[in-house]
Subunit: 142 residues, 4 copies
């Protein structure tokens, strides 16, 4: 049963700013990871459990478009969407909005694959059919 996903939210930390007075751009890539891990947890696939079972999900690509600078203390929310899943690889889109105003501050995407801890790709449909089905339920092609 597909459940409603709650967007990931938190405030910008002070150490995430740089001397331009705005959030350093590298942090958005970290926020995407926070949101992705929160999403996996919400759909019943906590990442720590997957690593314990020997499933790792390295990042193949990551990208961000910065529309409006974000500032210390600003409360943001990240919504994400899995737009494809081949059974080995999947691709995620992100939106970073101000939680209060809804203003879109950044968009991004990342690509991932399932591998063993020796970095061998895992065909999830065959090896972990439950996880495969769970994730597949949430795929929304663009």
């Amino acid at each position: 049963m597909k459940k409603e996903i709650i967007p990931y939210t938190r405030k910008v930390a002070y150490y995430e700013t740089d001397q331009m007075g705005i959030v350093h751009h590298s942090n958005y890539i970290r926020w995407f990871e926070e949101a992705r891990i929160d999403f996996l947890s919400q759909i019943g696939l906590p990442y720590s459990k997957m690593e314990e079972e020997g499933i790792m999900i390295p990042v193949l690509s990551a990208a961000c478009e910065y529309k409006y600078a974000m500032r210390f203390g600003q409360r943001f929310q990240i919504t994400l969407r899995i737009v494809s899943f081949t059974g080995v690889k999947f691709r995620v889109l992100y939106e970073v909005n101000d939680e209060d105003t809804g203003k879109l501050h950044a968009t991004g995407e990342s690509g991932h694959c399932f591998v063993t801890n020796t970095m061998i790709p895992i065909r999830m449909k065959k090896e972990y059919p439950d996880i495969y089905r769970r994730l597949m339920e949430y795929v929304q092609p663009q």
Copy 2:
């Protein structure tokens, strides 16, 4: 006079790894910044001087493709190329190679613009013709 650029090199720090035993992917975005600032310094446009003059160069977009994981202590070199410069915006491509073997570990790109410290775009050709010409010399379209 265009000068030969020395690629940016250093070793992976311990705190740049994560529990997957490899460099956390967000660090490459930071390395691109290190390489970009080093490049600007090499061509006579040190970023700290530009900020003092009121010129800021925020990041409009950043992306990285991860080909082979990198590890603690590994010595890498980053080569970069400015592939376009409109007078306000410019775009940079990056390659991250193992310094010893030359193996390509990652590629990336970033987009930037020149703005005042109140975030107003600067037409560099008109406002800072020397910086404009200097940077233009190093543009190598793809």
Copy 3:
């Protein structure tokens, strides 16, 4: 009126781990900052507002004792106590506990002072008596 402070809580992020499989020790220093800013906000002294008024609170010293390693996904809570406030400088103690088990994972401390944005010390009692009194209410000597 002194109010009850809610301890700062969150989960360990993946990017906060290192290849030892535990939280990198530098992150605790960042967590102390998160907890401190949250505390100031709870007592009605949001740090962003203070910076807007030209009050800055740089760090004079920071220290952490690591008792038990923390891991990805672990939920922690930070309690803090202001143990002294001279009117210019103050000192804070921290405890990092597992939120579920209550186990003490780390303790720490930091020292701070109030300065103008040109780094001149501010005698808070005279210059900002309201902030002075508010903070003084929460001082609990060791």
Copy 4:
């Protein structure tokens, strides 16, 4: 044979600054690690080799006193001194100086122990006498 140690040097990265316009204080803790790893490498004990052999060196405590703020692009040098080594634990002091002026910007210290990768303390004198002797040569009590 004890050799002359070359202090660790590099420039402050842009992403190491915060909106106060100075280096964020958490980075000094990371710099101490960089300097420590560089030192171990210089005395013939590269940390990556030690981890491969199953020796880990977690941090038991870390502290920093901030004397003068550091800024983007500033070139610093870190000198360190091992002030005690019990055979299991050791303690290190650090000084961060501006490389050009020699001005002292910060001092710090950290405590460490040698453990197996299951976190069991290692009596180095017995288990790894070569490493024990090598490190012992560099101990300079305060």
